[in-house]
Amino acid sequence: MISKFVKFASMATMALAIPSMASAEISPTVKQIQDRGTMLCSGHNGSYYGFVEVNDKNEWKGLDIDLCRAMTTAILGDPTKAQIVPLSWAQRFPALQSGDVDIIIKATGWTMGRDTEVGLQFSMPYFFGGAQFMAHGDLGITEAQELEGGTVCVEAGTTIERIVANHLQTLGVEHTMVSYEKAAELQAAYLANRCDAFAAWGPFLAVLRATQLENPDAHVILSDQLSNEPISAAMRQGDDGFVDMANWMLAALLIAEEEGVTMANVDEMAANPPNAKVARLLGTDPGMGARLGLRDTWAKEMIAAMGNYGEIYHRNLGENSPYKLERGLNNLWSHGGVLYAPQLD
């Protein structure tokens, strides 16, 4: 009953909204991108594991880069039209304000200060990362609850130190905490078996396990997520149309994963859509394009070029990458994660 009412109400608002939308101007940033013929995205001055890297052919790769290419495909129909501008961390916000880049997709956390004082606008989060534990595999444990009586190492004076203490106290786990001044010391102490587990930013642990340790399989990242930072795309304040586009680009990638649309089967799915949602998503039924001022097939082209969210994740951080990072929180809500797309109506 309620859902019927909601449907009716939303249809009514939509009907009311259509005339104003038709007259609504296209987002200035999108207009600029279309006039220029390229989209300017943020790169890095070096490399940031899994998110922004350079491959053997001197080309950018990584989760953030793929999202930029996906968005470029949505707007311009061609992933190679993405122009990645190398930026340092310090430089990224001024570079966005001065128009050196159109969007920052660069492992950037959504914080209040950035949202208000810095004058940015954020998309919905596309990645969640936070403090996690890594433990020696021979202990046979999988979650922090089982650390009872163990020694936990952390980096001194970081937020993680407090978060860990807090978390273990809440769980009522008796433990000894040892803190080290430097990340390298911490790592050495852990390897020398002076700690049963150590805590750090999740993606960092995964990279460490995959690359620096002699035998990655002898270490396990515990399932507990101690803290959480939403990672979002940042845009200039005041261009709502562009923010909508970023959100729906991310939404389309998630809906595609949910509905099983992949890079390989997207054409087939578009030809014979299994349901109305997929038909709408891939532009078989019209409507997706006009609302954003794009082509009806923008999502189809985007998925054909870059794959759905899951494919992008696995290519850069997950099972098809050297890092083998578990999806964890970054899974769809229907698979135990926190990623979800707004409703496609």
């Binding site: 790169g43 890095h44 001055n45 070096g46 490399s47 940031y48 594991y49 899994g50 890297e53 350079v54 491959n55 053997d56 052919k57 001197n58 080309e59 950018w60 122009q83 990645i84 501008v85 190398p86 930026l87 340092s88 310090a90 430089q91 001024p94 570079a95 304000q97 001065s98 128009g99 050196d100 990279v207 995959a210 690359t211 620096q212 990458s321 050297p322 890092y323």
Partner: protein, 358 residues
């Protein structure tokens, strides 16, 4: 010739014998030091050469217990270190462009080239060649925008253009600072002291990041040029002070004598004063040039993909991150080759000029 080297060698051996093995204590200390040295050298050679893995196909061997240096990373990723983000198929252009800069530098080191016309011509040709090759669109090649330039070729370009722009600017500032016209003198000294009291990083950050916000579009130009001009100004202000030292070493009487003989200002300056100024200022100038080469690494902070950034990118991926030592050593080796040759050239110039002044 052979007898002379033999003679020298004998002299050297005798000298070592006398100095280091003269008494028993000396001999003992020398032996211990030599053994230690030999051990260190052996460890390094063993790691870097004997147990090293060389090709990217053998990368699995790097993971073995007794593997030494893993030069596979250089085999697989050297193009990133050398060329940064430059498109892979176009690397021949970047290579040629690098060579043209290196050739220009070498050519201008030859005394035969030391006239204003010849130097100017070779630098204009060398630079034009670099730019045309790298950018490409003007000679009908695929266009590569400056944000894709990187690696060694970007470092060389920044270094060469900073020194090239900065040298004449520095000379001009030095002349202005000792000018008899108060306006020029005051302007130069305020400018020099202002720039010298700002950190280089701030200057470059302002040029790269702040200017686009405050300047109108048509005044901005490409980011790389803004940074080069700012860097060159910085270089010029220090170089002006170096040259001022050279000027002060020259007795005022030379100027006055020149004037008394009715020689024009330009002739006094270029034929009498400046050759001497450069001779006095040479060691500090070489110093400035060497420092500038190394300081170009600072542009990493404003998002340029110079050689250190590209080295970071070369080892910054899951497959290669364990071998960062090798990548950094490779980059250090490149720096060493350039700076050591520069230093040796400075020595050569000094000897040459001492001969000239005799």
């Amino acid at each position: 010739m052979t007898t002379m080297t033999q003679n020298r060698f004998e002299l050297f051996v005798n000298d070592v014998k006398k100095r280091s093995f003269g008494t028993r204590t000396d001999a003992a200390i020398s032996t211990v030091v030599l053994i230690l040295l030999a051990y260190i050298i052996w460890t390094v050679v063993d790691w870097a050469l004997i147990r090293a893995v060389w090709s990217k196909e053998n990368v699995e061997a790097c993971r073995l217990e007794d593997a030494g240096a893993c030069w596979s990373i250089i085999d697989a990723r050297h193009r990133i270190i050398l060329f940064g983000l430059y498109p892979f198929e176009q690397h021949w252009r970047s290579t040629l462009a690098c060579l043209s800069i290196i050739a220009t530098v070498i050519i201008s080191c030859i005394p035969f080239m030391w006239t204003t016309k010849r130097l100017a011509a070779s630098w204009i040709i060398g630079f034009a060649a670099y730019y045309l090759l790298m950018e490409g669109s003007l000679i009908g090649l695929q266009q590569v925008t400056t944000d894709q330039w990187g690696g060694l070729s970007l470092t060389l370009f920044m270094f060469a253009s900073v020194v090239l722009l900065g040298m004449p600017m520095g000379l001009a500032l030095a002349l202005m600072r000792r000018s008899e016209m108060p306006v020029l003198r005051i302007f130069a000294s305020i400018l020099i002291d202002t720039v010298r009291s700002l950190p280089l990083l701030v200057t470059l950050f302002t040029a790269a990041v702040v200017f686009p916000i405050i300047l109108p579009d048509w005044l901005q130009g490409d980011k790389i040029w803004r940074v080069i001009v700012a860097f060159a100004l910085f270089f010029a202000c220090y170089q002006a002070e170096v040259l001022r030292g050279g000027f002060q070493a020259i007795p005022k009487g030379q100027f006055e004598a020149g004037k008394a003989l009715g020689i024009s200002y330009a002739n006094i300056l270029f034929r009498i004063i400046l050759p001497q100024v450069f001779r006095y200022a040479l060691p500090s100038t070489i110093n400035m040039v060497v420092i500038t080469f190394k300081e170009t690494a600072i542009v990493i902070i404003i998002g340029f993909f110079e050689i250190l950034a590209s080295t970071n990118a070369a080892y910054g991926t899951g497959e290669w991150t364990s071998y960062y030592k090798e990548a950094l050593l490779f980059a250090a080796g490149i720096y060493w080759i350039f700076l050591f040759s520069l230093g040796r050239y400075g020595e050569y110039l000094k000897t040459r000029m001492t001969v000239a002044s005799r």
